[in-house]
């Protein structure tokens, strides 16, 4: 029984080890109590580990991991769907976008919750949020690129490193601007600014995406529909297939724009004012 105590962190074991050992020795339900001790020893270990990590980096790591996982799962499912129905058929197009859209909503929701948790403590600079999300986007994209390059027939980003970086760079700058504006506002104004700003960011980056990739924006007219056509993955035969080619990249941008703006809204002043108190008793 005493060996179980070594599962606890040393400080905890030194402080409460003997008492726990006595309770285990006189337990009326030894199996249940042993499991209880093992479980709580692991919890103590985990809490001790988490205490050593600055809170922001803990949130950042969790969010980054979730976003990457969501992107990879969505992409994997999309490729699976593709192999079932064939790349260009309507069921494929619809199913792929439903999957990726679901992932985008999940990432945005988790981001917003993380933003609320951060707002409860202090406001972090705009650049930390933007850089975090930029890292999320680049890592997820690299994973998507790699997973696609491993499959014959998928070379969407293979030869487009420079345009991709320019595209993400433009997204980063524009997003930082929108986040900065949202954080200066409050209430409905912040939400409206986030929605409008997000749409503008996506529209502008979709046009830049085509431009950086070497296509003629004019030839892809009407450019005002660039984003919507690219995320729909449907080309209306108005000049090449660049919109459809870009569709997965633009969906990633949608996902992360939602995530960043979720942060921004959560960090806006009204969210900070309405957070529940963490301690009832002073």
């Amino acid at each position: 029984m005493r060996a179980l105590l070594w599962l606890y962190p040393p400080a905890f074991r030194e402080r409460y080890g003997e008492e726990i050992s006595q309770l285990l020795a006189s337990s009326r339900k030894p199996v249940r109590d042993v499991l209880d001790v093992v479980w709580h020893a692991l919890l103590e270990r985990m809490e001790l580990t988490m205490r050593g990590i600055p809170r922001f980096f803990g949130f950042a790591a969790a969010l980054l991991g979730f976003a990457v996982a969501a992107a990879v799962v969505a992409d994997t499912v999309a490729v699976r769907v593709s192999s079932m129905w064939g790349g260009d058929s309507p069921p494929f197009v619809i199913a792929v976008h439903v999957v990726i859209f679901a992932a985008a909503i999940a990432v945005a929701f988790v981001s917003a919750r993380a933003g609320q948790a951060l707002a409860r403590r202090q406001g972090y600079p705009v650049w930390t949020i933007a850089v975090l999300m930029f890292a999320v986007q680049v890592i997820a994209t690299l994973l998507v690129i790699n997973s696609r390059l491993l499959r014959p027939g998928f070379t969407i980003y293979g030869e487009a490193a420079k345009p991709t970086l320019l595209y993400f760079g433009a997204w980063l700058v524009l997003t930082v601007i929108v986040v900065a504006v949202v954080r200066r506002l409050s209430g409905r104004r912040a939400i409206v600014a986030a929605v409008l700003g997000g749409l503008i960011v996506l529209q502008v980056t979709a046009v830049l995406d085509i431009y950086f990739a070497g296509f003629s924006v004019v030839a892809e007219s009407p450019w005002a529909l660039a984003y919507w056509r690219s995320v729909a993955g449907i080309d209306l035969s108005l000049g090449g297939n660049s919109f459809a080619t870009m569709s997965h990249r633009d969906w990633l941008t949608t996902m992360y724009t939602c995530a960043v703006l979720g942060y921004a809204i959560a960090l806006a002043r009204p969210a900070m004012k309405t957070m529940p108190a963490t301690a009832v008793v002073s």
Partner: protein
């Protein structure tokens, strides 16, 4: 029993420990017995001392000198006020709920 805000997953055990210590100091085994009598469920050693550790950190309880290798704990003034506030909140909540039930 809803629990003590701010204690996370240990909120309910922490509240039960404070209630158990409200009528005087007790060691771990006595707390287990008392809580079992209160709720019909005996907390495991890991649960009990996980909550004890947090209550000590918040200065809601404090350890007394050991007696026969058993260490008793007693509730502090801060812990007593916290318990008072939480029980008042629960009473208010229960009163509201019961009143609404009676009117429907």
């Amino acid at each position: 029993v809803s629990g003590l805000p701010g204690f996370g997953r240990f909120s309910e055990p922490a509240l039960l420990i404070l209630i158990s210590l409200a009528d005087g100091p007790k060691h771990g085994y006595a707390m287990q017995d008392d809580i079992a009598a209160l709720t019909g469920d005996r907390p495991g050693p890991g649960t009990l001392y996980g909550a004890v550790r947090r209550l000590e950190e918040q200065a809601f309880i404090e350890a007394l000198p050991s007696e026969d290798r058993r260490k008793p704990y007693q509730i502090t003034d801060v812990g007593r006020r916290a318990l008072q506030a939480e029980l008042a909140r629960m009473r208010s909540l229960a009163g509201t709920g019961l009143t609404r039930l009676a009117t429907t």
